[in-house]
């Protein structure tokens, strides 16, 4: 008779004391373990498997059933993979630098404008970000095509400044690494501007005044005071651009050169077209290893910023 109410009461007590907290932690934890960590363990394990013409197309057999390094050996011997990594990293690095060069002054400009302007400008930065990524890439396909007004404009500009023998009927932009970098910069620029803005907006302008008071001209103030303090923002923004850009699939597929594929394309092709799951996994693992340093840098600075925000909130009490 009394068993049910007691159990209920115990349950309620457990919930009030600790249970609600345990549930809050455990639900998303288990979810991420099952649907994010487990898949990566699978990828990792898969990278040591052998491709077979079965379904699913892999098996753990051969000479080294557990640790089969064959896929990794291929990774370092087949120039396709090495070239793909180099292309990816070069394109991503180039795009990151360009994003920084364009995004930093923009973020600074927004941070230094009046409050009402700031909201409008931020909205203008975020607006394209809310529209479809795919459509933004697509917009550039239209612009870069050989017959487009943009290409014609650039061509006439180019022909105007070079000798006549170098004149072109159009500028070949589509399907080049240049196109990949350009569209990557376009697509990822908000990811550079937003963390930089968040960082720059928090800087104490009185420090600039203090430096000016001590004899520094504006450019010097920027170099001595603003820039060193914005390094966490630069790193966060840089990582937010570099990491996804190096694994990008859509942009190189649509505007990139097919003779110089990027690593995302290689993974996708190995997996879907060649049905070589183990190789695709090995390429993925290698990409992750390559990204581990930037990833850790990002996490480090991100958690540092998080802690600082927490500290500020506590001091604000």
């Amino acid at each position: 008779m009394s068993a049910a109410p007691t159990t209920l009461r115990r349950l309620r007590r457990w919930f009030n004391r600790k249970g609600w907290g345990q549930i809050t932690i455990a639900t998303p934890y288990i979810w991420l373990l099952a649907l994010f960590l487990v898949p990566f363990v699978i990828v990792f394990a898969m990278s040591f498997a052998t491709r077979t013409p079965t379904a699913p197309p892999f098996s753990f057999g051969g000479e080294n059933p557990i640790l089969n390094w064959e896929n990794y050996r291929r990774l370092f011997t087949d120039t396709l993979y090495i070239r793909a990594y180099l292309t990816s990293i070069a394109n991503a690095a180039m795009a990151t630098v360009m994003c920084l060069l364009i995004g930093y002054p923009m973020a600074l400009g927004i941070a230094r404008s009046s409050r009402s302007w700031r909201n409008i400008l931020l909205m203008l930065v975020i607006l394209p970000f809310w529209t479809s990524f795919l459509l933004r890439v697509y917009a550039w396909m239209g612009l870069m095509g050989t017959n487009s007004w943009f290409n014609k404009l650039l061509t006439s500009f180019y022909n105007g400044i070079v000798p006549d023998d170098w004149a072109l009927s159009y500028i070949p932009m589509m399907n080049t690494n240049f196109a990949v970098v350009l569209v990557t910069v376009y697509s990822y620029l908000p990811f550079m501007i937003l963390p930089l803005y968040a960082n720059l907006e928090k800087l104490d302008l009185q420090l600039d005044e203090a430096a000016m008071d001590l004899g520094s001209r504006p450019l010097r103030v920027f170099w001595d005071i603003t820039l060193p303090q914005s390094i966490p923002g630069i790193i966060a923004g840089g990582m937010l651009v570099f990491i996804p850009a190096s694994g990008e699939l859509i942009i190189p597929s649509l505007v990139g050169s097919s003779s110089q594929p990027m690593i995302g394309r290689v993974i996708s092709d190995e997996f879907a077209s060649a049905r070589d799951w183990p190789m695709a996994s090995a390429v993925s693992v290698a990409l992750l290893v390559l990204l581990v340093v930037p990833l850790m840098l990002y996490t480090h600075y991100e958690s540092k910023a998080q802690r600082q925000a927490q500290k500020r909130a506590e001091e604000g009490q």
Partner: protein
Amino acid sequence: MSAKAEPSQGSARATPEVARAGSSEFVRVEGVTKKFGSFTAVDDVSFSIDRGEIFSLLGGSGCGKTTILRMLAGFETPTRGRVWIDGQDMTDVPAYERPVNMMFQSYALFPHMSVEKNIGYGLKHEKMSKAQRGDRVREMLDLVQLTGLSERKPHQISGGQRQRVALARALARSPKLLLLDEPLAALDKKLREQTQFELMNIQDRTGVTFIVVTHDQEEAMTLSSRLAVMDKGRIMQVGTSTEIYEYPGNRQVAGFIGSINFFDARVIRRNGDLLRLDVPDLGGEVDAAAIDGVSSGDEVTLAVRPEKLVINRARPDETNRTLGTVEGLAYFGKDSLYRVRLPGGNLVSAMSVNSRRAGENERVADWEDQVWLSFAASSAIVLTS
């Protein structure tokens, strides 16, 4: 220097004893107005400061004192008027070219630089060898007694130490003029008193002219050789601490500095150095030190500071006296504040120094006691505005 310095309505009022030789004028602010949009932060302010002075701008928040300081530093340009420093027109000179340094209220220490780098920062723009620069930094560290902390970052030192780093950084370039924005506001009471004397000491040793902005009247009075009392963008009075306190120019200054009792009064006649006043609230006629520009029949204000009111059980000999009832009593240790209700209904404050040790029953006066209040004619202030 130039003779056209006209006294504007907001500028200094001469008090009876003031007779300063204006020969070594160092800073001159001339008819300066600063508007932010439609808001007038500083309204036609003029004053001048001598070399080697500690001059304070005193006023509540939003009175325009910080704006004046920022115009002296070069962070703001006046909407109208000119600023002269050491004989040179500095109105349009940018901050980085002025021989002026500032100690910020927040200290504005560069968080990514060590104490040493902070102090040495301004020296990078001077033509100095590395060794000279190092010497100068060490000299400054020594001046503010922070020698052992040169490698620390600002967040690794205490508030008082940060204040001294800010001071050393501002002094390192040997400025002609040092601006201090609320220099002691962030310190606790005990440290504040100690630092006050240190500041005066350093000023004395370096000979640099200081301009201090503060909302703390005690700080302003102890620190400065002269101070300007500001309200709503205007200067109400300029003078030494004593002048401002003992000879306030108007009701506002009198009320802003310290506490004071005001009574409505009418001039009866002038008796040599004394004015005979009719003060209904004090139940009759009293004498007060005479001022110029009043004649019989004028409505004036009589002001008496609480510590000038003597409280007594027995009827005093002083002719300026009245009877009242003690309604409130606050014991502060060194002195006590009495709130006394006068027959006319006024409540006045009287401060009495507890110069003898007395138990609770042996005090000068107690709750509900009938007491006499009296004051010397020379202590009474007559105000026309």
